[in-house]
């Protein structure tokens, strides 16, 4: 007989049975409703790409979610007489000038490159409508030639305006107006690491003196410049330079390599604890900055000299590591950060944090020491439930007490707020955010709208609230070449109207955008500024809800069907074996089944999901593990009944072996029951997936309706975005209901006593 013939026979054989089952099934109204709903979802899942208006990665463009104000400037300096092809330049962080705090009004932005070019733009604000939205107007000012290989520039107002500049091994001060050099200092090496810039007004009864300090370092040598300028009179500023090689000879810590940016800590009075903290590969060093004050002469009280002094304290990583039972392996560049880096009172106790990665697959750590004397304070492992073995990228200052730490575990990045006192993640372990990609900018605090801003290597800019929860994310379509820099505010009538940040995009172009708190995602259903239609609105990230719903259907069905299939498969197999073999096999299998029946499911499922990690596959496993037991029991009961039927005896007499009896005779007869329970199991699996996702065990890379609701909860918009909140719940209910109804209708087919009498 050919294959087609045997196929025909199989179909014909089962056709009558299927037809009969269908006739019985049809009689149940709820069965038909359930089937209709389910088929509706299946159609949606299959035709998702056609039905969904956008594809799954789509996020609403900035113009829709963001009442933003932006400007893009091509960096080609036309009309300035200096020919610049922006693509041939290596651009650095744009340098803003803003008026002194508290206004911090943005005045100009300078973009500079290593090729000796700089272009400045002037920023002015414009009133778009009376009162409400304000905009900026960015115009090209002029271009300049600057020293080649400039690696650092910063605008400083210290009695006069200038740009602090470092190129190769020279420190320059370039005038603000036309960037002509007014001071040139030979550093002696090309700096790799740069400290913070500090200046403090210092006053006694007699005199007022302002001091600004700045330190640079390469791998072995420190270099510090300091300037003092009296506040009264027209005395010239005094400029000091000091340099030091790092080593701690007495304890044999030689051949030290500086690995990160040093930090200058100044106290309010220059009296004590003015320190330069330097991270090296084997130890953390703190040098005293010696400030010598004129005691006599013409104007006593003025600063006479500022130098890098003696080693004040040091921390030997090996020694500390041994006491703690761990290894300190510091990260490079953003190795250390100081808590609350503002002018401190002598009695304030502050900490310094050191970021380290022990290596291997373990999560990174932070170690904390007192700045006053370098004694160990605490250490902590940077780990959150969603990221258990992230490597720390750097530790940064926070706007409040404590620190910010950035970490990375492919493919996500992590930024978290760390409590200074304890080292724990602040907010009872909730102040953190996961971002897409590696964080490539230092998280900067924008005081105007109290947000942190950072960008990742996935061309995304994140704005995080003070609780380090991101509420605004957008992609820079043109790509980020130079990461985000906060550039200042626009003031109007003494009110901050907008905070701006700038990015150099890949074109390359200078891109300035405001972060006016008018981020309006999640968007309600409607049409956005770009003309995009959002049938059900968007979520806080700008994803179209309807699209997510549609694509989510695929995952829901996949998870539900697979989990149920596995559970029912296992349950049926075990039930068959227990029922058929009886005796000790039955006892053992049923004990085993009973254990699974009486486990408190949700509790252990959560634990299991924690261990396995968040992924769709693991969810399927967890759900299957807890669903098979009920089916096993039922199938066993049915098998016991069937076993006594004569055709089983007849099969034995016909020479059938165990396997044949189980699979040829028993299994097809329990199949109706199997299908029945499969329907119920699918129904339950969908709800269980929703609950597990909602509680945080879901797969962040997959779109499911449970995850949609979880993001809703995390983003804090639960109570104000009903369009985000209702559809997933309704979808879950409907899908689960449909399978349940199918189950009930099928139940009536299989158990006739349920039919209407």
């Amino acid at each position: 007989m050919s294959f087609v013939d045997s196929l025909k026979i199989v179909l014909r054989r089962n056709w009558k049975r299927l037809n009969q089952t269908w006739k019985l099934y049809k009689r149940s109204k709820i069965g038909l409703i359930g089937l209709a709903i389910m088929l509706g979802f299946v159609v949606v899942a299959v035709f998702a790409p056609i039905i969904a208006p956008y594809d799954p990665q789509f996020a609403a463009p900035n113009e829709d979610v963001f009442v933003a104000d932006l400007s893009t400037q091509a960096l080609n300096a036309t009309g300035t007489g200096i020919p610049i092809d922006p693509r041939n330049e290596t651009w650095h962080d744009p340098v803003p000038k803003w008026t002194p705090p508290p206004e911090s009004n943005l005045v100009s932005i300078l973009a500079y490159s290593s090729q000796g070019h700089a272009i400045r733009y002037v920023v002015d604000f414009v009133s778009i409508e009376s009162g409400s939205a304000l905009g900026i107007e960015v115009t090209l000012d002029t271009a300049f030639l600057i020293p080649q290989n400039t690696s650092f520039m910063k605008y400083v107002y210290f009695r006069s305006e200038y740009y602090m500049t470092v190129s190769d091994s020279t420190y320059w001060e370039l005038t603000y107006d036309d960037l002509t050099p007014r001071r040139e200092v030979n550093i002696g090496f090309a700096p790799i690491y740069l400290s913070n810039l500090w200046w403090i007004p210092r006053s006694t009864e007699v005199v007022q003196d302002e001091i600004v300090c700045f330190a640079m370092a390469n791998e072995t040598t420190l270099f510090m410049t300091a300037k003092a300028h009296p506040g009264i009179g027209e005395f010239n500023e005094r400029f000091f330079v000091s340099s030091k090689q790092v080593s701690v000879p007495d304890v044999n810590l030689t051949d030290l390599k500086i690995i990160g940016d040093p930090i200058i800590i100044l106290d309010a009075n220059f009296d004590n604890d003015t320190l330069l903290i330097v991270p090296t590969d084997k130890a953390l060093l703190a040098y005293k900055i010696d400030i010598s004050i004129r005691t006599g002469g013409l104007l006593p009280g003025l600063v006479d000299d500022v130098t890098i002094g003696n080693l004040f304290w040091y921390v030997d990583y090996q020694a500390i590591g041994d006491t703690l039972g761990t290894t300190i392996n510091p990260v490079e560049k953003h190795t250390i950060a100081v808590e609350n880096p503002g002018p401190r009172k002598p009695e304030s106790k502050d900490r310094i944090a050191l970021a380290s990665n022990p290596g291997g697959n373990e999560a990174g750590n932070l170690f904390s020491f007192w700045t006053a004397n370098g004694t160990f304070n605490w250490w902590t492992t940077v780990t959150v439930p969603e990221m258990r073995s992230a490597s720390v990228e750097g530790v940064h200052a926070s706007d409040r007490r404590g620190f910010l730490v950035t970490a990375w575990q492919s493919p996500q990045g992590l930024v978290a707020g760390i409590e200074g006192d304890t080292g724990r993640i602040s907010g009872n372990l909730t102040y953190y955010s996961l971002v897409e990609g590696k964080i490539v900018s230092v998280p900067q605090f924008v005081s105007g709208n109290r947000r942190y801003i950072l960008s990742t290597d996935q061309d995304k800019v994140y704005m995080l609230r003070e609780n380090v929860k991101s509420d605004i994310v957008f992609s820079i379509e043109k790509g980020i070449l130079v990461p985000v820099v906060y550039v200042g505010n626009i003031m109007t009538q003494h009110q901050i109207a907008g905070n701006y940040y700038s990015i150099i995009t890949r074109e390359p172009a200078l891109f300035i955008q405001s972060l006016t708190g008018a981020y309006i995602a999640p968007l309600p259903p409607g049409v956005g500024n770009s003309g995009n239609v959002y049938i059900l609105g968007t979520d806080v990230f700008g994803h179209d809800i309807f699209t997510q719903l549609v694509y989510g259907t695929q995952n829901e069905l996949a998870v539900g069907l697979t989990a149920a299939f596995i559970a029912v498969g296992i349950g049926t197999l075990i039930g068959l074996m227990a029922g058929y073999f009886g005796g000790i096999v039955d006892s053992i299998l049923m004990r085993f089944t009973d254990i699974f029946l009486t486990l408190p499911i949700l509790v252990i499922a959560l634990l299991l999901a924690s261990v396995l990690g968040p992924s769709l596959f693991n969810l399927i496993i967890v759900i299957s593990v807890f669903s098979w037991a009920g089916i096993a029991r039922v199938i066993r009961a049915q098998t016991l009944t069937l076993k006594e039927r004569d055709f089983i005896k007849a099969a034995k007499v016909s020479g059938a072996g165990h396997r044949q009896i189980m699979f040829r005779h028993l299994a097809p007869n329990v199949l109706p029951l199997t299908f029945l329970y499969m329907a119920y199991t699918i129904s339950g699996a969908i709800i269980t997936e929703a609950i597990l996702s909602f509680l945080g065990m879901g797969d962040p890379t997959a779109i499911t309706w449970g995850m949609m609701l979880q993001y809703l909860r995390i983003s804090g918009h639960t109570l104000d975005a009903p369009w985000w909140f209702l559809p997933p719940g309704i979808a879950i209910t409907l899908l689960s209901l449909s399978f349940y109804l199918i189950g009930r209708a099928f139940d009536e087919v299989v158990n006739p006593r349920l039919r209407a009498r």
């Binding site: 039927r645 004569d646 007849a650 020479g655």
Partner: protein, 334 residues
């Protein structure tokens, strides 16, 4: 010995009920379903095993096909002892001994077609290799049992067949492997009365055609007489009478047999039947009376019946009975 197809010797089956907790020294109670039964089935013979429910006849049937394992005793067949067959040998044994079950509604797998059902034993015993061969054999078997035209029946499901048709399928299934012995456990009891004759006729024809000995288990003496060459009457696990069918019907020696006969409805309404006054109901096989098992109900029981269990002795040639008074010359007058 060639005339004997199967020899059953002291076959015993006790079921353990109510396990006492052995650690506490409890005793188990046993249900003595079959108690040291001995008889032969001759070649080409249909032997009927008659008795009421619970007498052990069905159990004997299961023992013969090894659906149950004997507690002790022998079932000598084809140079071997079925009772002691090991697992590996069971399969080849199964080819030679087949069974037809009582309930036509449950002895066929509702999910398999007639073709699949009848072909199953053929495939299991590797008697056919290709699908076409299987179909041929099945067709032949169906013709043998009268389910013609074969094509009409071969793809049907059990629920599309009548009771009689199903039983024919069961017979075809048993027949297909050309067994050397068939146990038929009440094959017509659940069929409509009008169908019974046809099916019984069929079995007789098949015996004539293929020479297969049958053990025909029934509770109905009338059909036993119709079908069987010899009849064995069982009571509470023991054979109480064994003789040619005509002999048993015309000259029963055991009181129980007599009572059974009296209970058989007779075609002639005018003929009076005097039912035999036996008391009470069949006792449970757990609690078997001492002495002769039948004595509590026997109208003629005497002291000896309470004390000594009568053996199945020859009363005449080819007529055995287990009663103290079943002795030539000591017949009772009724």
């Amino acid at each position: 010995m060639e005339e004997v197809a199967m020899k059953i010797v002291e076959l015993t089956k006790y079921f353990e009920i109510g396990r006492g907790l052995k650690i506490f020294g409890g005793k188990s109670t046993y249900l003595k379903a079959v108690d040291h039964v001995t008889f032969n089935v001759r070649n080409r013979e249909i032997m009927a095993l008659v008795g009421e429910s619970g007498c052990g006849k069905t159990t004997i049937g299961f023992l013969i096909v090894r659906l149950e394992d004997p507690t002790s005793g022998h079932i000598l067949f084809e140079q071997g002892d079925i009772a002691t067959l090991k697992k590996k040998e069971l399969k080849s044994f199964r080819r030679n001994v087949q069974m037809i079950f009582q309930d036509p509604y449950s002895s066929l797998n509702p999910r398999l077609t007639v073709m699949q059902t009848v072909a199953e034993p053929l495939i299991n015993h590797k008697m056919v290799v290709t699908a076409d061969e299987a179909r041929e054999n099945v067709a032949m078997a169906l013709e043998d049992v009268g389910l013609v035209p074969v094509d009409e029946y071969i793809e049907r499901f059990p629920h599309e067949l009548s009771g009689g048709e199903r039983q024919r399928v069961a017979i075809a299934r048993a027949l297909a492997v050309r067994p050397k012995f068939i146990v038929a456990d009440e094959p017509v009891s659940m069929l409509d009365v009008s169908i019974r004759a046809g099916v019984m006729r069929l079995m007789l024809d098949l015996r004539d055609k293929y020479g297969i000995p049958f053990l025909f288990i029934t509770h109905d003496l009338a059909s036993a007489r119709f079908m069987a060459d010899r009849i064995a009457v069982m009571y509470l696990g023991k054979i109480v009478e064994l003789a040619g069918s005509d002999e048993v019907i015309s000259n029963p020696r055991h009181p129980y047999t007599k009572a059974l006969l009296r209970a058989v409805p007779v075609g002639d309404p005018n003929r009076e039947r005097v039912p035999l006054p036996i008391k009470g109901e069949i006792p449970s096989a757990i609690d078997i009376p001492t002495g002769c098992r039948f004595h509590p109900r026997c109208p003629w029981a005497e002291d000896i019946c309470k004390q000594a269990e009568p053996e199945l002795k020859e009363y005449r040639e080819d007529h055995l009975a287990a009663c103290h008074f079943a002795v030539e010359g000591k017949e009772r007058v009724e």
